[in-house]
Protein backbone atom coordinates (compact mmCIF):
# COMPACT_ATOMS: atom_id res chain seq x y z
CA UNK A 1 0.00 0.00 0.00
CA UNK A 2 1.29 3.47 -0.81
CA UNK A 3 2.24 5.87 1.97
CA UNK A 4 -0.59 8.17 1.01
CA UNK A 5 -3.19 5.41 1.32
CA UNK A 6 -1.77 4.09 4.59
CA UNK A 7 -2.59 7.37 6.34
CA UNK A 8 -6.27 7.30 5.39
CA UNK A 9 -8.82 6.09 7.93
CA UNK A 10 -10.16 3.39 5.57
CA UNK A 11 -7.54 2.87 2.87
CA UNK A 12 -9.21 -0.34 1.69
CA UNK A 13 -11.92 1.61 -0.15
CA UNK A 14 -9.50 3.30 -2.55
CA UNK A 15 -7.49 1.49 -5.24
CA UNK A 16 -4.74 2.65 -7.56
CA UNK A 17 -4.70 2.19 -11.31
CA UNK A 18 -1.81 -0.28 -10.84
CA UNK A 19 -3.83 -2.35 -8.42
CA UNK A 20 -6.88 -2.35 -10.66
CA UNK A 21 -4.87 -3.36 -13.72
CA UNK A 22 -3.54 -6.35 -11.77
CA UNK A 23 -6.92 -7.33 -10.33
CA UNK A 24 -9.34 -6.79 -13.21
CA UNK A 25 -10.52 -10.37 -13.17
CA UNK A 26 -11.19 -10.68 -9.48
CA UNK A 27 -13.39 -7.60 -9.08
CA UNK A 28 -16.46 -6.20 -10.78
CA UNK A 29 -15.52 -2.90 -12.41
CA UNK A 30 -18.36 -0.38 -12.81
CA UNK A 31 -18.14 2.88 -14.79
CA UNK A 32 -20.47 5.71 -13.77
CA UNK A 33 -20.25 8.91 -15.83
CA UNK A 34 -21.91 12.23 -16.30
CA UNK A 35 -21.92 11.54 -20.05
CA UNK A 36 -24.15 8.59 -20.82
CA UNK A 37 -22.27 7.69 -24.03
CA UNK A 38 -18.72 7.96 -22.77
CA UNK A 39 -18.49 4.30 -21.70
CA UNK A 40 -19.42 3.27 -25.24
CA UNK A 41 -16.48 5.16 -26.72
CA UNK A 42 -14.07 2.97 -24.75
CA UNK A 43 -13.81 1.76 -21.15
CA UNK A 44 -11.59 -0.21 -18.79
CA UNK A 45 -11.61 -3.90 -19.80
CA UNK A 46 -14.30 -5.95 -17.96
CA UNK A 47 -16.14 -2.78 -16.84
CA UNK A 48 -19.91 -2.54 -16.98
CA UNK A 49 -21.79 0.74 -17.38
CA UNK A 50 -24.08 2.16 -14.73
CA UNK A 51 -26.03 5.34 -15.42
CA UNK A 52 -26.82 7.45 -12.36
CA UNK A 53 -29.68 9.30 -14.04
CA UNK A 54 -31.63 6.61 -15.83
CA UNK A 55 -30.79 3.53 -13.75
CA UNK A 56 -30.34 4.49 -10.09
CA UNK A 57 -33.40 6.73 -9.87
CA UNK A 58 -37.01 5.69 -9.67
CA UNK A 59 -38.82 6.76 -12.83
CA UNK A 60 -41.84 8.23 -11.08
CA UNK A 61 -41.05 9.20 -7.51
CA UNK A 62 -38.09 11.56 -7.04
CA UNK A 63 -36.04 9.01 -5.15
CA UNK A 64 -33.64 6.13 -5.61
CA UNK A 65 -34.66 2.64 -6.54
CA UNK A 66 -36.24 0.44 -3.92
CA UNK A 67 -34.56 -2.76 -2.77
CA UNK A 68 -36.25 -4.98 -5.30
CA UNK A 69 -35.44 -2.75 -8.27
CA UNK A 70 -31.84 -2.30 -7.13
CA UNK A 71 -31.40 -6.04 -6.81
CA UNK A 72 -32.81 -6.55 -10.31
CA UNK A 73 -30.45 -3.88 -11.65
CA UNK A 74 -27.45 -5.50 -9.98
CA UNK A 75 -28.34 -8.95 -11.29
CA UNK A 76 -28.70 -7.56 -14.81
CA UNK A 77 -25.21 -6.07 -14.53
CA UNK A 78 -23.76 -9.41 -13.46
CA UNK A 79 -23.15 -8.14 -9.95
CA UNK A 80 -23.54 -10.35 -6.90
CA UNK A 81 -23.96 -9.23 -3.31
CA UNK A 82 -20.52 -10.54 -2.26
CA UNK A 83 -18.66 -9.04 -5.24
CA UNK A 84 -15.89 -6.51 -4.78
CA UNK A 85 -17.04 -3.47 -6.77
CA UNK A 86 -14.55 -0.95 -8.14
CA UNK A 87 -16.17 2.27 -9.33
CA UNK A 88 -14.67 4.89 -11.60
CA UNK A 89 -15.94 7.59 -13.93
CA UNK A 90 -15.45 10.91 -15.67
CA UNK A 91 -15.16 14.35 -14.04
CA UNK A 92 -12.86 13.33 -11.16
CA UNK A 93 -15.23 10.54 -10.13
CA UNK A 94 -18.23 12.74 -9.27
CA UNK A 95 -20.75 10.20 -10.46
CA UNK A 96 -18.63 7.26 -9.38
CA UNK A 97 -18.75 8.68 -5.84
CA UNK A 98 -22.47 9.22 -6.19
CA UNK A 99 -22.93 5.59 -7.25
CA UNK A 100 -20.63 4.54 -4.39
CA UNK A 101 -22.92 6.35 -1.97
CA UNK A 102 -26.03 4.68 -3.42
CA UNK A 103 -24.36 1.25 -3.17
CA UNK A 104 -23.77 2.02 0.49
CA UNK A 105 -27.42 3.01 1.01
CA UNK A 106 -28.10 -0.60 0.06
CA UNK A 107 -25.35 -1.82 2.35
CA UNK A 108 -23.15 -3.36 -0.34
CA UNK A 109 -20.15 -4.41 1.73
CA UNK A 110 -17.10 -4.18 -0.51
CA UNK A 111 -17.21 -1.10 -2.73
CA UNK A 112 -14.01 0.68 -3.77
CA UNK A 113 -13.13 3.73 -5.81
CA UNK A 114 -10.40 4.11 -8.43
CA UNK A 115 -8.18 6.97 -7.27
CA UNK A 116 -7.73 9.39 -10.17
CA UNK A 117 -10.71 8.03 -12.07
CA UNK A 118 -11.05 7.44 -15.77
CA UNK A 119 -8.76 10.34 -16.68
CA UNK A 120 -5.76 8.89 -14.85
CA UNK A 121 -6.22 5.45 -16.39
CA UNK A 122 -6.23 7.06 -19.85
CA UNK A 123 -3.37 9.46 -19.09
CA UNK A 124 -1.24 6.46 -18.18
CA UNK A 125 -1.90 4.96 -21.59
CA UNK A 126 -3.69 1.94 -20.19
CA UNK A 127 -5.92 -0.30 -22.25
CA UNK A 128 -9.45 0.71 -23.17
CA UNK A 129 -11.94 -1.49 -24.93
CA UNK A 130 -15.34 -1.12 -26.54
CA UNK A 131 -16.14 -4.71 -25.73
CA UNK A 132 -19.07 -5.05 -23.37
CA UNK A 133 -18.42 -8.00 -21.05
CA UNK A 134 -20.82 -10.92 -21.34
CA UNK A 135 -21.58 -11.63 -17.70
CA UNK A 136 -23.77 -14.26 -16.14
CA UNK A 137 -26.74 -12.94 -14.19
CA UNK A 138 -25.65 -11.92 -10.70
CA UNK A 139 -26.91 -13.27 -7.44
CA UNK A 140 -28.36 -10.29 -5.61
CA UNK A 141 -31.07 -10.45 -2.95
CA UNK A 142 -33.57 -7.68 -2.42
CA UNK A 143 -32.17 -5.57 0.43
CA UNK A 144 -34.09 -2.66 1.86
CA UNK A 145 -32.41 0.69 1.33
CA UNK A 146 -31.30 2.27 4.61
CA UNK A 147 -31.29 6.08 4.34
CA UNK A 148 -30.97 6.65 8.07
CA UNK A 149 -27.17 6.72 8.41
CA UNK A 150 -25.87 8.19 5.17
CA UNK A 151 -28.60 10.34 3.67
CA UNK A 152 -29.95 13.69 4.88
CA UNK A 153 -33.39 15.07 4.04
CA UNK A 154 -34.57 18.66 4.23
CA UNK A 155 -36.05 18.18 7.69
CA UNK A 156 -32.72 16.84 8.93
CA UNK A 157 -31.08 20.09 7.84
CA UNK A 158 -33.33 22.14 10.08
CA UNK A 159 -32.50 19.89 13.05
CA UNK A 160 -28.76 19.77 12.28
CA UNK A 161 -27.70 23.30 13.24
CA UNK A 162 -25.14 24.15 14.60
CA UNK A 163 -23.39 20.93 13.53
CA UNK A 164 -21.16 21.10 10.45
CA UNK A 165 -22.69 21.55 7.02
CA UNK A 166 -20.26 21.56 4.11
CA UNK A 167 -21.35 23.33 0.92
CA UNK A 168 -19.03 22.09 -1.79
CA UNK A 169 -20.27 24.31 -4.65
CA UNK A 170 -18.30 27.12 -6.23
CA UNK A 171 -17.72 30.29 -4.17
CA UNK A 172 -20.09 32.19 -6.51
CA UNK A 173 -22.90 29.71 -5.90
CA UNK A 174 -22.25 29.84 -2.16
CA UNK A 175 -22.40 33.61 -1.92
CA UNK A 176 -25.46 33.76 -4.12
CA UNK A 177 -23.75 35.65 -6.89
CA UNK A 178 -24.98 32.98 -9.29
CA UNK A 179 -27.65 30.32 -9.19
CA UNK A 180 -25.72 27.49 -10.78
CA UNK A 181 -22.14 26.43 -11.15
CA UNK A 182 -20.10 28.23 -13.77
CA UNK A 183 -20.60 26.62 -17.18
CA UNK A 184 -23.47 24.42 -15.99
CA UNK A 185 -27.19 24.77 -16.58
CA UNK A 186 -29.41 26.19 -13.88
CA UNK A 187 -31.25 23.16 -12.63
CA UNK A 188 -34.14 25.17 -11.46
CA UNK A 189 -33.40 26.80 -8.12
CA UNK A 190 -35.52 29.86 -7.44
CA UNK A 191 -33.20 31.44 -4.88
CA UNK A 192 -29.42 31.78 -4.63
CA UNK A 193 -27.15 31.55 -1.61
CA UNK A 194 -26.39 28.81 0.92
CA UNK A 195 -27.89 27.00 3.89
CA UNK A 196 -27.20 29.25 6.91
CA UNK A 197 -24.23 28.00 8.89
CA UNK A 198 -22.73 26.00 6.02
CA UNK A 199 -19.05 26.43 5.24
CA UNK A 200 -17.88 26.57 1.65
CA UNK A 201 -15.26 23.99 0.67
CA UNK A 202 -15.42 23.68 -3.14
CA UNK A 203 -15.11 19.96 -4.01
CA UNK A 204 -11.93 20.57 -6.04
CA UNK A 205 -10.05 21.39 -2.84
CA UNK A 206 -10.08 17.67 -1.99
CA UNK A 207 -8.32 16.52 -5.14
CA UNK A 208 -4.95 17.06 -6.77
CA UNK A 209 -4.23 18.10 -10.32
CA UNK A 210 -4.21 14.53 -11.63
CA UNK A 211 -7.65 13.93 -10.10
CA UNK A 212 -6.40 11.76 -7.21
CA UNK A 213 -7.36 12.61 -3.65
CA UNK A 214 -5.06 14.82 -1.63
CA UNK A 215 -3.01 13.10 1.09
CA UNK A 216 -4.64 13.05 4.53
CA UNK A 217 -2.94 16.24 5.72
CA UNK A 218 -4.26 18.20 2.76
CA UNK A 219 -7.79 16.90 3.30
CA UNK A 220 -7.73 17.72 7.00
CA UNK A 221 -6.44 21.20 6.18
CA UNK A 222 -9.36 22.13 3.91
CA UNK A 223 -12.13 20.15 5.61
CA UNK A 224 -11.26 20.65 9.28
CA UNK A 225 -8.62 23.31 9.96
CA UNK A 226 -10.02 25.89 7.55
CA UNK A 227 -13.64 25.27 8.55
CA UNK A 228 -13.08 24.98 12.29
CA UNK A 229 -15.00 21.69 12.25
CA UNK A 230 -13.97 18.74 14.39
CA UNK A 231 -13.98 15.11 13.14
CA UNK A 232 -16.12 13.97 16.08
CA UNK A 233 -18.98 16.22 15.00
CA UNK A 234 -21.85 15.15 12.76
CA UNK A 235 -21.46 16.33 9.16
CA UNK A 236 -23.81 16.95 6.26
CA UNK A 237 -22.54 17.64 2.74
CA UNK A 238 -24.50 19.14 -0.13
CA UNK A 239 -24.05 20.68 -3.56
CA UNK A 240 -26.46 21.19 -6.43
CA UNK A 241 -27.92 17.73 -6.97
CA UNK A 242 -25.78 15.67 -4.60
CA UNK A 243 -23.14 14.33 -6.97
CA UNK A 244 -20.10 16.51 -6.23
CA UNK A 245 -20.93 16.40 -2.53
CA UNK A 246 -20.73 12.59 -2.73
CA UNK A 247 -17.04 13.06 -3.43
CA UNK A 248 -16.60 15.20 -0.32
CA UNK A 249 -18.81 12.80 1.64
CA UNK A 250 -16.45 10.00 0.58
CA UNK A 251 -13.35 11.99 1.57
CA UNK A 252 -14.78 12.88 4.99
CA UNK A 253 -16.05 9.41 5.82
CA UNK A 254 -13.43 7.07 4.42
CA UNK A 255 -10.27 9.11 4.11
CA UNK A 256 -10.48 11.55 7.02
CA UNK A 257 -12.45 9.10 9.17
CA UNK A 258 -15.42 11.20 10.29
CA UNK A 259 -17.91 8.67 11.68
CA UNK A 260 -21.16 10.47 11.04
CA UNK A 261 -21.44 12.04 7.58
CA UNK A 262 -24.62 12.26 5.55
CA UNK A 263 -25.07 13.52 2.02
CA UNK A 264 -28.05 15.80 1.35
CA UNK A 265 -28.97 14.79 -2.19
CA UNK A 266 -31.89 17.22 -2.35
CA UNK A 267 -29.14 19.83 -2.19
CA UNK A 268 -29.58 23.30 -3.63
CA UNK A 269 -32.14 22.29 -6.25
CA UNK A 270 -34.42 21.46 -3.32
CA UNK A 271 -33.34 24.00 -0.69
CA UNK A 272 -33.27 26.90 -3.14
CA UNK A 273 -36.92 26.17 -3.95
CA UNK A 274 -38.32 25.42 -0.50
CA UNK A 275 -40.92 27.91 0.59
CA UNK A 276 -39.84 29.83 3.70
CA UNK A 277 -36.53 27.99 4.09
CA UNK A 278 -33.79 30.20 5.56
CA UNK A 279 -31.01 31.24 3.19
CA UNK A 280 -27.79 33.14 3.78
CA UNK A 281 -26.03 35.17 1.10
CA UNK A 282 -22.50 36.52 0.96
CA UNK A 283 -19.27 35.07 2.24
CA UNK A 284 -20.33 34.66 5.87
CA UNK A 285 -21.88 31.32 6.89
CA UNK A 286 -24.65 33.07 8.77
CA UNK A 287 -26.82 31.52 11.48
CA UNK A 288 -29.64 29.08 10.93
CA UNK A 289 -32.84 30.62 12.23
Amino acid sequence: MSEKFAEYAHPEVLVTTDWLAANLNSVRVVESNEDILLYDTGHIPTAVKLDWHTELNDRVRRDYLNGEAFAALMRSKGISRDDTIVLYGDKSNWWACYAFWVFKLFGHQDVRLLDGSRAKWIAEGRELTKEVPALPVGNYPSVERDDSQLRAFRDDIAKHSPSPIVDIRSPQEYTGERLHMPDYPNEGAARAGHIPGARNVPWGKCVQEDGTFKPLDGLKQVLLTETGFSPDQKFITYCRIGERSSLTWFALKYLVGVKDVRNYDGSWTEWGNLVAAPIAQGEEPGVFA
Partner: protein, 140 residues
Protein backbone atom coordinates in the same frame (compact mmCIF):
# COMPACT_ATOMS: atom_id res chain seq x y z
CA UNK B 1 -41.26 19.50 -41.30
CA UNK B 2 -38.34 20.08 -43.65
CA UNK B 3 -36.93 16.98 -45.32
CA UNK B 4 -33.48 17.51 -43.78
CA UNK B 5 -34.91 17.84 -40.31
CA UNK B 6 -37.28 14.93 -40.89
CA UNK B 7 -34.36 12.72 -41.94
CA UNK B 8 -32.60 13.25 -38.62
CA UNK B 9 -35.78 12.61 -36.62
CA UNK B 10 -36.37 9.44 -38.67
CA UNK B 11 -32.84 8.20 -37.99
CA UNK B 12 -33.61 8.21 -34.28
CA UNK B 13 -37.24 7.20 -34.39
CA UNK B 14 -36.39 4.16 -36.54
CA UNK B 15 -34.44 2.80 -33.57
CA UNK B 16 -35.58 1.61 -30.18
CA UNK B 17 -34.00 1.64 -26.74
CA UNK B 18 -30.26 1.37 -26.67
CA UNK B 19 -30.05 1.36 -30.47
CA UNK B 20 -31.24 4.96 -30.32
CA UNK B 21 -28.33 5.76 -28.01
CA UNK B 22 -26.01 4.08 -30.51
CA UNK B 23 -27.41 6.36 -33.17
CA UNK B 24 -26.49 9.36 -31.03
CA UNK B 25 -23.00 7.89 -30.67
CA UNK B 26 -22.73 7.54 -34.45
CA UNK B 27 -23.77 11.14 -34.85
CA UNK B 28 -21.16 12.21 -32.31
CA UNK B 29 -18.48 10.47 -34.36
CA UNK B 30 -19.50 12.25 -37.54
CA UNK B 31 -19.37 15.84 -36.24
CA UNK B 32 -17.10 17.65 -38.73
CA UNK B 33 -13.83 19.03 -37.39
CA UNK B 34 -13.95 22.70 -36.52
CA UNK B 35 -12.75 25.04 -39.25
CA UNK B 36 -9.15 25.86 -38.20
CA UNK B 37 -9.73 29.60 -38.48
CA UNK B 38 -11.80 29.39 -35.27
CA UNK B 39 -8.83 27.97 -33.45
CA UNK B 40 -7.03 31.26 -34.08
CA UNK B 41 -10.12 33.35 -33.29
CA UNK B 42 -11.95 31.66 -30.44
CA UNK B 43 -13.87 34.88 -29.76
CA UNK B 44 -15.91 34.10 -32.88
CA UNK B 45 -17.46 31.18 -31.03
CA UNK B 46 -20.20 31.43 -28.44
CA UNK B 47 -20.32 29.13 -25.43
CA UNK B 48 -23.53 27.19 -24.90
CA UNK B 49 -24.02 27.52 -21.16
CA UNK B 50 -26.99 25.18 -21.07
CA UNK B 51 -24.69 22.26 -21.84
CA UNK B 52 -22.85 20.47 -19.08
CA UNK B 53 -19.75 20.07 -21.23
CA UNK B 54 -17.87 22.86 -22.95
CA UNK B 55 -19.51 23.30 -26.35
CA UNK B 56 -19.12 26.30 -28.60
CA UNK B 57 -21.07 27.37 -31.64
CA UNK B 58 -20.73 29.92 -34.40
CA UNK B 59 -23.54 30.96 -36.71
CA UNK B 60 -22.53 32.72 -39.94
CA UNK B 61 -23.78 33.38 -43.46
CA UNK B 62 -26.60 35.25 -45.10
CA UNK B 63 -30.38 35.02 -44.84
CA UNK B 64 -30.23 32.69 -47.85
CA UNK B 65 -27.74 30.29 -46.32
CA UNK B 66 -26.80 29.92 -42.68
CA UNK B 67 -23.54 28.12 -41.88
CA UNK B 68 -23.08 26.44 -38.52
CA UNK B 69 -19.87 25.55 -36.70
CA UNK B 70 -19.56 23.45 -33.55
CA UNK B 71 -16.78 22.61 -31.17
CA UNK B 72 -17.30 19.93 -28.51
CA UNK B 73 -14.74 17.69 -26.78
CA UNK B 74 -14.47 14.00 -27.59
CA UNK B 75 -14.83 13.19 -23.88
CA UNK B 76 -18.37 14.53 -24.11
CA UNK B 77 -19.93 12.29 -26.77
CA UNK B 78 -23.51 13.07 -25.78
CA UNK B 79 -22.98 16.78 -26.33
CA UNK B 80 -21.10 16.08 -29.56
CA UNK B 81 -24.02 13.92 -30.68
CA UNK B 82 -26.48 16.76 -30.07
CA UNK B 83 -24.24 19.16 -31.97
CA UNK B 84 -23.89 16.75 -34.85
CA UNK B 85 -27.65 16.12 -35.06
CA UNK B 86 -28.27 19.87 -35.20
CA UNK B 87 -25.53 20.25 -37.78
CA UNK B 88 -27.04 17.54 -39.99
CA UNK B 89 -30.52 18.99 -39.68
CA UNK B 90 -29.79 22.70 -40.01
CA UNK B 91 -26.43 23.55 -41.54
CA UNK B 92 -26.82 25.35 -44.87
CA UNK B 93 -30.55 26.00 -44.57
CA UNK B 94 -31.97 29.48 -45.09
CA UNK B 95 -32.63 31.69 -42.10
CA UNK B 96 -36.38 31.37 -42.43
CA UNK B 97 -36.15 27.59 -42.64
CA UNK B 98 -34.10 27.44 -39.45
CA UNK B 99 -36.45 29.81 -37.64
CA UNK B 100 -39.35 27.55 -38.61
CA UNK B 101 -37.81 24.48 -36.96
CA UNK B 102 -39.75 23.54 -33.85
CA UNK B 103 -38.12 24.35 -30.51
CA UNK B 104 -39.24 20.87 -29.61
CA UNK B 105 -36.92 19.25 -32.17
CA UNK B 106 -34.62 17.83 -29.44
CA UNK B 107 -37.54 15.97 -27.87
CA UNK B 108 -38.72 14.72 -31.25
CA UNK B 109 -35.60 12.57 -31.37
CA UNK B 110 -37.13 10.50 -28.57
CA UNK B 111 -34.18 10.67 -26.21
CA UNK B 112 -35.81 12.26 -23.16
CA UNK B 113 -36.54 9.04 -21.34
CA UNK B 114 -33.39 7.29 -22.52
CA UNK B 115 -30.89 9.87 -21.41
CA UNK B 116 -33.00 12.07 -19.06
CA UNK B 117 -34.73 15.36 -19.81
CA UNK B 118 -31.97 17.24 -18.01
CA UNK B 119 -29.38 16.14 -20.52
CA UNK B 120 -31.66 16.90 -23.47
CA UNK B 121 -31.98 20.45 -22.16
CA UNK B 122 -28.44 21.17 -23.32
CA UNK B 123 -29.52 20.48 -26.86
CA UNK B 124 -32.47 22.83 -26.47
CA UNK B 125 -29.99 25.49 -25.38
CA UNK B 126 -27.92 24.94 -28.49
CA UNK B 127 -30.96 25.18 -30.77
CA UNK B 128 -32.20 28.34 -29.03
CA UNK B 129 -28.83 30.03 -29.49
CA UNK B 130 -28.66 29.01 -33.14
CA UNK B 131 -32.11 30.43 -33.76
CA UNK B 132 -31.34 33.66 -31.93
CA UNK B 133 -28.17 34.23 -33.98
CA UNK B 134 -30.02 33.28 -37.14
CA UNK B 135 -32.71 35.85 -36.38
CA UNK B 136 -29.99 38.50 -35.98
CA UNK B 137 -28.57 37.63 -39.40
CA UNK B 138 -32.03 37.64 -40.96
CA UNK B 139 -32.75 41.10 -39.51
CA UNK B 140 -29.59 42.70 -40.95
Amino acid sequence: MLERVRAVVDDFQAMEGNDRLQMLLEYSESLPDLDPRFGDNPELLERVEECQSPVFIAVEGTPDQINLHFSAPREAPTTRGFASALNSALNGLSASEILDVSDDFPSQLGLDQLISPLRVRGMRGMLARIKRKTAEIAAN
